[in-house]
């Protein structure tokens, strides 16, 4: 199969859905001629024009609100917030309005909107352009939270998100944009709420999200040399998320690490750990559940400090060995 990048996969999903459904449109900052800060929407302006590749002023609250208003009146907007850090400005419209409108109105409104936004550190952009805030959104009933780790998942999950009738936070990772993988040319959906086992193994389960899936895969290749067989579960969507696949894996391996880039305290790993300890998998555990997350600090500018602020391949290897050789 042909290989394309994560950014290209997202662009292809947008292009195919826009061709298919004239109500799908893009709204956000510098999407058109600039192609988005990371080039994801590059070229879409040429095909769909300014009406449907809609550049906005720097007004994140209005971007989210306009997407919401359009969504409840028959359009299917895909909004982009240039950096996940700036979802803070759009938060009122996303959290108080978009997430709750359907429920508050007795289930009557449909909110088919997607908010795409890149998260993550590793680009030297420092504390206000590097955050991973997914856990906040998972705390809000009414929202769905999607976090693809591969080009294949990015395309299929985005198509499903666009076709879904709920507000969706679609979290991309800056360091994944240039990674490549096999992606079918035709359209396909990946259902929201279904995990993917990225690697089968016997000794240890790693539940990883976004860029950490890639790091866990690298770590597992190293661990294999020491005879440690790792199973990697990628939830792909954090809300809803696939508890069953995680539980089954932990029952098999008896050991689990949850790893994400976001700060450890209050991160999604806490949810996974708590869920496992409440589940039937608890009785199968041979070791405490381990969480690996970012340090509880803002992301520093300095390259070396920045690297130390979030889990790297070697941190995953060390954590795995700690669990295995207890």
């Amino acid at each position: 199969m042909r290989e394309i990048t994560y950014a290209e996969a997202i662009r292809e999903a947008l292009r195919q859905e826009m061709r298919k459904d004239k109500n799908v449109f893009l709204i956000g900052e510098d999407l058109g001629i600039y192609g988005g800060a990371f080039g994801v929407t590059y070229g879409l302006l040429d095909e769909f024009g300014e009406e449907r590749v809609r550049d906005t002023p720097i007004s994140e609250a209005a971007i989210a609100g306009a997407a919401l208003g359009a969504a409840i009146t028959g359009m299917r907007p895909v909004a982009e917030i240039m950096f996940m850090d700036f979802t803070t400005i759009a938060m009122e419209q996303i959290v108080n309005q978009a997430a709750k409108i359907k429920f508050m109105f007795g289930g009557k409104a449909k909110v088919p909107m997607v908010v795409r936004t890149p998260a993550g550190s590793g680009t030297g952009a420092a504390a206000q352009h590097s955050q991973s805030l997914e856990a906040w959104f998972t705390h809000v009933p009414g929202l769905k939270v999607v976090m693809p780790s591969t080009p294949y998942d990015a395309k299929g999950l985005l198509i499903s998100s666009i076709r879904d009738n709920n507000p969706i936070i679609f979290i991309e990772h800056k360091l994944l944009y240039k990674t490549t993988g096999e992606v079918p040319e035709e359209e396909y959906e990946i259902p929201l709420g279904v995990a993917d086992i990225k690697r089968k193994g016997e000794d240890l389960t790693i539940v990883a999200t976004s860029i950490m899936v890639q790091r866990a895969i690298s770590a597992s290749k190293e661990l294999e040399k020491d005879g440690i067989s790792v199973e990697i579960v990628d939830p792909r969507t954090l809300k809803p998320y696939d508890k069953k696949t995680i539980i089954e894996s932990v029952k098999k391996t008896g050991k689990v690490i949850a790893v994400h880039e976001a700060c450890k305290t209050g991160g999604f790993g806490a949810e996974i750990a708590a869920m496992i300890s409440e589940s039937e998998a608890f009785d199968y555990l041979d070791a405490p559940i381990k969480r690996l997350g970012g340090l509880d600090i803002p992301i520093p500018y300095n390259r070396n400090l920045e690297r130390h602020a979030v889990p790297q391949v070697e941190d995953i290897i060390n954590a795995a060995k700690e669990l295995i050789y207890r």
Partner: protein
């Protein structure tokens, strides 16, 4: 308005320092020595220098992602700026902040924000504090044309208006917010016009002429010091370089960029000072060389400075 030759020459020197600093960091970036991204204000030097030259040393400024000029105009130590650029422990932010977050709290530079419009509400808070502490200081809040379309702009200007806070809201209109031209982002011609809707003065000024900026800002500073409240000043200028390192400049023409280069604020000011016999060509050469030397020394200082240590990675999160 009368200026002493010393004041005029000081302004020219600062403009050169800004230009050479930014040309140097652009070069260091190209060499791969700088991590991340950065935003250059080449072509906009007259705004930072003209505005900040009206201030007393203990007055405040709030800067932006495009803030190197503001820092230098407020008297920043170039060594510490350069060290911050290279992410060194000796830098203004101990290597934690980088280009986008340089602050010099002791000198009244309350820092640059990476969030467009993020400094505007803070400025009203600084103004409030000045008023409550009765210190007679003022604060200049720099922001771009793009930032004026954040909701926070509206809330903060209104707050400053009703409480008559000593804030100078200084909009650096360089014609684009990233790829979006002001023609596309606004349905009005002058952003300064918005001041009227809050009930305070708004003025448009040629942002490429340092003395014009000075004059208009001084009026606003005097008004603020008298307790009469805020002003909004719009300096029309132009960003010569791309928005940041990811910019291919597809949204504007080469001709447009070249036409603004013809209006170089440094060249214009220099030629005026020469014509008025305040300075000679030879003296200009010396000023240029001195400024370049300061920048070179700063690069040496930064290169020879230590990296932050990982053991101290938690420093500064809480006090």
């Amino acid at each position: 308005m009368k200026f002493t030759p010393e004041k005029l020459i000081d302004m020219l020197i600062k403009m050169y320092k800004i230009r050479f600093f930014e040309e140097k960091v652009d070069y260091l970036f190209a060499l791969g020595l700088v991590h991340g991204t950065m935003h250059l204000s080449i072509g906009q030097e007259a705004v930072a220098v003209g505005a900040i030259s009206t201030l007393k040393p203990d007055d405040y400024i709030l800067s932006t992602h495009r803030g190197h000029g503001h820092c230098i105009a407020k008297g920043a130590d170039i060594n510490l700026m350069m060290a911050e650029f290279l992410g060194k422990e000796t830098g203004y932010c101990r290597g934690r902040g980088g280009s986008m977050h340089i602050a010099d709290v002791e000198k009244g530079n309350l820092g640059a924000t990476g969030v467009v419009g993020g400094g505007i509400p803070i400025a009203s808070g600084v103004g409030l504090s000045i008023k409550m502490r009765k210190t007679g200081q003022v604060v200049i809040c720099f922001f771009g044309d793009g930032a004026a379309n954040q909701g926070a702009f509206h809330e903060s200007l209104n707050l400053a208006a009703i409480w008559k806070l000593p804030v100078i809201f200084l909009c650096e209109n360089n014609m684009y917010g990233m790829s979006m031209s002001v023609e596309k982002a606004f349905a009005i011609e002058n952003i300064a016009k918005r001041a009227g809707s809050y009930g305070f003065p708004g003025e448009v000024v040629d942002g490429n002429y340092v003395l014009a900026v000075y004059k208009v800002v001084l009026k606003a500073v005097e008004r603020a010091r008298k307790g009469k409240g805020p002003s909004l000043i719009e300096c029309k200028t132009y960003r010569w370089k791309g928005h940041s390192k990811s910019d291919q400049n597809l949204y504007r023409s080469k001709e447009e960029i070249e036409s603004w280069k013809m209006k170089c604020p440094i060249k214009r000011f220099k030629e005026k000072l020469i014509a008025e016999k305040i300075i000679t060509n030879e003296e200009i050469k010396i000023i240029e060389e001195n400024a370049k030397n300061i920048i070179e020394k700063a690069v040496d200082f930064a290169k020879n400075s230590p990296e932050p240590s990982v053991e101290e990675i938690f420093d500064g999160v809480y006090s």
